[in-house]
């Protein structure tokens, strides 16, 4: 480096220091007192501000300025700017104005909405817009559509649909009671965070058919099978759980008489006593919307027209709902059968019958299948480190 350049760095102009990132200057001199940073063993007083602090404020006053205020209708993450502090060109719009899926896919790889520069796997996913929330609430509460149906129609997970209805109900209650709401806050959040708009046809908010990865399927298995017989997902589930293959007469794919995999809700237990485990179902039965598989099969059938398909789809939903209601009722009746109610006016006591037998407590008396105290086993709240905070709050 030439001597001239060094001299220039040693005597920085104040305007230059204030304007942009003269990191070279900051590294040698305190921008406040224009003297060299304090050195060890030096008695010369430099400045109160440390070098690190000066560097921070230098960053905050230059590139960091971008983050001081939100950018209207767009995200404002660290990754939205390049190294020089300029906004990158092709970023997705926060209002959900996304291009077609391929472009979005490409964008996810290059410049998605990533709040953390180092973590390429965390993406700021869109939230539901106010209109979409209201629409979900309307379809469920006014049109009396089932949550399952609304979830498929709008591309929103079923649990989310339920939560939205619950929250919207609460909001309406608050509005009716004239309780103060955080409206400016809500408006600001919706302008900062990407959101899914309400459109016709609806833009899917998220994937609705997520299959949880079961821990039984994690180990790799080597399973030799015959070529003369097709090996399908039902078989795979049975192999993973150590169950024998279905006999041909019970296998639909071999022409046997049985329910289709997507409809199969029966529970089959295998294993020796003490090591029983349920047989893993095929993915068809374990996804949240198995009825969609039947609907897709209908679409492949050339004999069915659109109207028929539509009717069959809704018939399936109705049937599923009735089944579910029936099961719920049966469970309630079962519980009621074993409960005695004693109403004292102030409290209603629910008394359940239970038995403590060797089957429940085990031979050593320490088993947990039966209620009650176990001899020699300290109760949970006396153990070291166990915290006595509630584990659930009843609604």
């Amino acid at each position: 480096m030439t001597r001239g350049a060094l001299q220039y760095l040693q005597v920085p102009l104040s305007s230059f220091t204030a304007s942009l990132t003269p990191s070279a200057t900051v590294s040698k001199h305190c921008p406040k007192c224009k003297r060299a940073w304090r050195r060890p063993f030096s008695s010369t007083r430099s400045c109160d501000m440390t070098k690190l602090r000066a560097e921070m404020f230098n960053w905050l006053n230059s590139r960091g300025k971008n983050f001081l205020d939100p950018v209207q209708g767009k995200t404002n993450y660290l990754t939205d700017y390049d190294k020089r502090g300029f906004r990158r060109n092709k970023e997705p719009d926060a209002a959900g104005e996304q291009a077609d899926s391929t472009e979005r896919e490409k964008g996810t790889r290059d410049l998605p909405r990533r709040p953390f520069p180092l973590n390429e796997w965390f993406i700021s996913q869109p939230i539901l817009s106010e209109e979409l929330r209201e629409e979900i609430w309307r379809r469920v509460q006014i049109d009396k559509k089932s949550i399952r149906n609304v979830s498929v129609e709008l591309g929103v997970e079923m649990r989310r649909v339920g939560a939205v209805v619950r929250l919207q109900e609460l909001e309406k209650q608050w509005r009716a009671e004239n309780k103060p709401l955080a409206l400016p806050y809500a408006e600001a959040i919706h302008s900062m965070v990407p959101s899914t708009p309400l459109k016709n046809p609806p833009v899917p908010h998220e994937t609705v058919n997520d299959l949880p990865v079961h821990s039984m399927t994690l180990p790799q298995l080597f399973y030799p099978t015959s070529e003369s017989r097709q090996f399908n997902r039902v078989d795979a589930g049975r192999i993973f759980s150590g169950a024998p293959r279905l006999p041909d007469e019970a296998d639909v794919t071999q022409g046997g008489q049985s329910v289709e995999p997507w409809k199969d809700t029966s529970i089959e237990i295998v294993g020796k006593p003490g090591h029983e485990r349920p047989v893993l179902k095929a993915a068809d039965a374990r996804i949240p919307h198995p009825h969609l598989i039947a609907h897709e099969k209908d679409k492949l059938d050339p004999e069915l027209d659109a109207l028929e398909r539509h009717e069959r789809y809704h018939a399936r939903l109705r049937e599923e709902m009735e089944q579910r209601a029936g099961k719920k009722e049966a469970r309630r009746k079962q519980i009621e059968k074993h409960t005695t109610r004693v109403d004292t006016g102030r409290y209603e006591f629910l008394i359940k019958d239970c038995q403590t037998t060797r089957l429940g407590t085990g031979l050593d008396g320490r088993g947990t299948a039966s209620p009650g105290r176990r001899y020699g086993v300290p109760s949970q709240d006396r153990k070291r480190g166990a915290i006595k905070i509630p584990t659930k709050v009843e609604v």
Partner: protein, 445 residues
């Protein structure tokens, strides 16, 4: 509990916080080097920086009990594909070569190692921070301890409560506004021209703020003076009011106002208040937006020096007016009194030509804005409410929460999962670091 959540600059630690120190650290951190260090060193530093971010408020023993080596993940399924193929295509072992379609739709990797700290996302304080109800996990913790948080409608005072799927938590909206709003007393002087305007505004602004704090005595005097002085020309008032209204609604919706706009907003608020509290008012003061708008419209469209309304002003006693002032002082968006529609509505304005509908909508929008985001010096945050500095760089809501910002309530839908190409646990570090930390807690050192 001692707050160990300092954000030192010498060791770039990232915290769950929206402070500018944290933002600076977040911008400059790098993945710790691995080539020059032993495996133990790598794991140690990885777990230390990850713990500093995710759970500095949780003791090591507590976290070790919470740690689970089972990492949740999901794979999105396509029902159309499931309908066409029962799985025998894959098991046949054919068609998985490079040129087949199978190779093309090879799914992305599932980033399991970013899920190491997933169990901590169940904690109530962390969930409040993730739902953007608090500006740091520490503040969220304080909200819980101070009793401002409800879970399923019941007060919950334990920050370590582990939310179950389907639990709803609510935070007091006032606290949320305080936590996420710009701090009071600091004028945000982001740009030089703002600074210039605000300097000139200082005297005026201070005066107007004072006005609002001790309104009842001052305003009464002013009103009295005015009443004696002369009747203002409504046209003039209308013109200035409209100009201010247009400035008020011109600003970006969620964004920050600059100093000039703030000045205008304050002026508009003051003018509206003055117009509504004039002696010749025939109705009591109402807080309802519609009623206020109607009243204002009626006043402005009235012809100058109409005797009909003058006659009534003696009927309104000063006591009554004082009450009204006090009520108005605690300006909230929603009123407790029912809207009282103006009796003067029908009789007074026959002069609609003065206002074109555009002006009227502008006026109404500005009034609505004033109602939505009022100027209120009694609040512990700067009013009108604006997001706090550097908030937008941290603003995201993970998909396992469903948040309703209006009532500051959220539902914990499910546990966070990893899916192809994406992990739902917000962590600022790379997957290598997560993997090292995971290996540390597997206790195979």
């Amino acid at each position: 509990m001692r707050n160990r959540a300092r954000i030192p600059l010498s060791k770039a630690k990232v915290r769950q916080s929206w402070s500018k120190y944290n933002l600076y650290n977040l911008a400059r951190i790098t993945t710790p080097p691995y080539k020059t260090r032993t495996v133990f060193q790598q794991k140690w530093s990885a777990k230390s920086i990850l713990r500093a971010y995710h759970s500095e408020q949780v003791r090591e023993g507590m976290w070790e009990r919470m740690f689970s080596r089972r990492l949740r993940s999901v794979v999105p399924m396509n029902p159309e594909y499931l309908a066409r193929n029962d799985g025998s295509l894959e098991s046949a072992g054919r068609g998985s070569g490079l040129e087949s379609s199978f190779a093309k739709r090879r799914p992305k990797a599932i980033p399991y190692m970013q899920m190491t700290f997933a169990p901590l996302e169940r904690r109530l304080d962390t969930a409040i921070f993730r739902a953007l109800f608090a500006s740091s996990a520490r503040q969220a913790r304080q909200f819980v301890v101070h009793g401002a948080v409800k879970v399923n409608g019941k007060k919950m005072k334990y920050p370590g409560y582990l939310l179950n799927p389907g639990d709803m938590f609510q935070v007091d909206p006032e606290r949320v506004m305080f936590a996420t709003g710009a701090p009071k007393g600091l004028s945000d002087l982001s740009s030089p021209d703002d600074r210039a305007v605000s300097r000139s505004e200082d005297k005026e602004g201070a005066a107007s703020l004072e006005d609002q704090s001790e309104e009842s005595s001052q305003d009464e005097d002013e009103d009295a003076e005015e009443g004696e002085e002369k009747e203002e020309d409504p046209r003039e008032v209308l013109k200035s009011l409209l100009a201010q209204a247009k400035s008020v609604i011109s600003n970006p919706k969620g964004g920050k106002l600059n100093a000039k706009q703030k000045q205008n907003l304050r002026g508009f608020a003051k003018e509206v208040k003055r117009q509504l509290s004039r002696r010749d008012s025939t109705t009591s003061k109402s807080h309802d937006l519609e009623a206020q708008f109607e009243e204002l419209k009626a006043k402005l469209l009235r012809k100058p020096n109409l005797p009909s309304s003058q006659a009534e002003d003696s009927s309104s006693s000063p006591n009554k007016e004082e009450d009204g002032e006090k009520k108005e002082e605690s300006t909230t968006t929603l009123s407790t009194s029912p809207p009282q529609l103006n009796t003067a509505k029908g009789k007074d304005y026959d002069d609609d030509s003065m206002l074109d509908p555009e002006d009227l909508t502008a006026l109404r929008a500005a009034l609505a804005r004033l109602h939505l985001n009022p100027i209120d010096p009694t609040k512990p945050y700067a009013t009108p409410w604006t997001p706090r500095p550097y908030m937008s760089a941290f603003a995201f809501i993970p998909p396992f929460l469903e948040v309703n910002q209006n009532i500051c309530a959220a539902v914990y839908l499910r546990h966070p999962v990893a899916r192809p190409g994406m992990a739902e646990v917000p962590t600022p570090f790379a997957q290598v670091t997560g993997g090292d930390a995971f290996a540390w807690y597997l206790r195979r050192r």
